[in-house]
Subunit: 238 residues, 4 copies
Amino acid sequence: MKLLIDEKDRKYLTDREEFHTGLGVVKIVENAQKVTSHLGHDFSVLKPRLIDLYEKLPRSGSVLLKRDIGFILAYTSVGTGDIVVDAGTGSACLAMFLANIVQPTGKVFTYEIREKFAEIARKNIENAGLQEFIEIKMKDITQGIDEEEVDLVTLDLPEPWLVVQHAYKALKHGGFIMSYSPYIEQAKKTVDSLKEASFRGIKTYEVFEREMEISNKGVRPSTRMYGHSAYLTFARKY
Amino acid sequence: MKLLIDEKDRKYLTDREEFHTGLGVVKIVENAQKVTSHLGHDFSVLKPRLIDLYEKLPRSGSVLLKRDIGFILAYTSVGTGDIVVDAGTGSACLAMFLANIVQPTGKVFTYEIREKFAEIARKNIENAGLQEFIEIKMKDITQGIDEEEVDLVTLDLPEPWLVVQHAYKALKHGGFIMSYSPYIEQAKKTVDSLKEASFRGIKTYEVFEREMEISNKGVRPSTRMYGHSAYLTFARKY
Amino acid sequence: MKLLIDEKDRKYLTDREEFHTGLGVVKIVENAQKVTSHLGHDFSVLKPRLIDLYEKLPRSGSVLLKRDIGFILAYTSVGTGDIVVDAGTGSACLAMFLANIVQPTGKVFTYEIREKFAEIARKNIENAGLQEFIEIKMKDITQGIDEEEVDLVTLDLPEPWLVVQHAYKALKHGGFIMSYSPYIEQAKKTVDSLKEASFRGIKTYEVFEREMEISNKGVRPSTRMYGHSAYLTFARKY
Amino acid sequence: MKLLIDEKDRKYLTDREEFHTGLGVVKIVENAQKVTSHLGHDFSVLKPRLIDLYEKLPRSGSVLLKRDIGFILAYTSVGTGDIVVDAGTGSACLAMFLANIVQPTGKVFTYEIREKFAEIARKNIENAGLQEFIEIKMKDITQGIDEEEVDLVTLDLPEPWLVVQHAYKALKHGGFIMSYSPYIEQAKKTVDSLKEASFRGIKTYEVFEREMEISNKGVRPSTRMYGHSAYLTFARKY
């Protein structure tokens, strides 16, 4: 799988040797870093990083934004060797970011009950070459978590509170739970269930980002801003 | 090294067997998850995760906030096996987050010219058990980068533009550079030097986070908010 | 009443002819714009504008921030001649901003049940010279509103929903209601009661502001930021 | 001039007696508050407030957002009787908000050099019935300000620093200047010129607002957010 980037920074993901774009047909030569289309346009050719796959792979719904994924990564300091339980899988975006980090000694177990989503996720994971480090489990996580001594549980579910007790049991002493919810009522109910389950250090955050436009005309923040994705609730077992 | 957490969620880091706190003397028993001080107060005992060390280890100045570290991690999708060049080391916070992820096959080379900072960094890295995966180089990175085929260069320097050409040379095709600057003039000058050095996909961001206070009284955002840390400029070689 | 401003931009409000400060005794000469203390420090002397009184007059609790007051003024386009009903009075900050605008043909009726607050409010209003255009009513607004054909109702109350029906009756066709609530549950309950009372154009906002620090060292946003004051809910009768 | 609002809260401004909409023809009966179109759809009929004209009147370019207008109103506590100098007029949005407040004893003098803009502004001002309180001056404000003892100068110009000295001369002791600039370089240059002109209390702000979506599904912030309009720089003569 190759990433092509054209002169206007548009990105294309392909595993073909010949790729058709609006700027002409591109033949991807082994090991070439630059290629020219038959219409004379330059393309950079890259081995895609995970972030490229994140941006271009098929999605089965909305996915976590980079700012939220990053906050989860930093807040929990997830690292090589960690065991993570994740639900629902969705397009596997978060699972892939986690597996990219916890490999080769750690593993991500991701629960999904919708076969259609799991299928897309499976293909995405294979394209990222992470299949060895992510296990998709076709199980309803509200019925229980199989894993033990888990470092991190990440939830992107409509009713995360149904998983909180299971997560407490599955987590190792010192482990983190993170729940992602667009509505404040969900965050509130999750916090209440975390308290009840004896979780500690319960905190809820919103993360924002704003681009700065730096050009010859001057510097100004972008007028475009994504106002809200979700509330991120964190807690810990100790 | 153990992390103690008292009943009010205050954290203490110690490598002693007997630890004195305002809530009494705590004897840390091997493998105990809870201990009681001689005054009858409960403490949780944890094997610290990196995030605990980040919060409690000595600092030689201000450190990157979690929200910024996270955004860097997600934006570049740094993962196991990546080679990272970092400067200046400071307290090694960012270097440790990166090493925690790129280990065991990747490595972080962090440049520092201030011996005092390097010393603190060295101790922090040892306490985190990451010494095998971080090499502190007592060199001025504005004079050049020794490493080649690097995946990511992270800069937290007063004059990052002096390193941009070196970074371009050191990076592999497809690799990222990230520069962290509190002042907008620094970001502007960095962007200009990135353009000159043929970097592409140049973007600058600010990241914010706000805590939500969820209690029995109701839900409201916190009045405390950290208004600004720095502008994060990203670019890529392709 | 005079406003003194010292060399470090600290402000003092006084109606004495001789005023003692840490920088010496200041004698306020009629019509002087600058005076010098007996220790040789310069002070500017101003006829205070309302914003100066807002900043320096005694407060009986927390007051609305400028950003919120401003958003209310713009959102409703309150202007000369408008009739406003306000509750609770508190320190009369919002009432004074409104009266400063609606005078001389309009009027603000402000409801307060706490005699102590009304007393402070009364003094503040007199110091601002707005007593002719603000009537403090020692009545419980949840029991009803006396006024009719009102242009704007502004509520800063713990249970604004108890006033919504009264407000609908009091407002003229096309008039606005605004309710200020720190907790999201209050905003939610207010919105529900507004719907029930046939109000239309119901919208809830949060307003933020961030200072930019522009100095010789460069330009950067301030690290200090006030994260939350309240949710502002607006609706209209039509 | 009447404001019609249909069942979906869409607004229409008209001075005709018969008005054609996608929901049918509406006959506007004198003093009616509700009318029904010939297709059976209900419309509310309102005497428009200034905010309605602001939203619906023709614009000659982008206009100041409510949040910025409001912040200016509150920060300077502009009130009845104030004398304001404004430039450039643009669509006269800010001038109309100011005149709506300073009337009947105050006045707004607004400078514009583009005849086309002045024409639109003139019509907007007449539709708002504010022509007695706003004087459009077809003059280049960088050449000087005719007025004296001014309470407030508001600038929305590409090069506001060219007006700063004139503004200092025109302002009364204690008066405010406000400058609105999208680019940070403009704000910086304005601040520098304000310092040079002996202005004091120089501050620069950005104002944001975010809508909360409160529905039966729950409460969440809106994903739509306007990331940046301009930097607002304030200073004062004292």
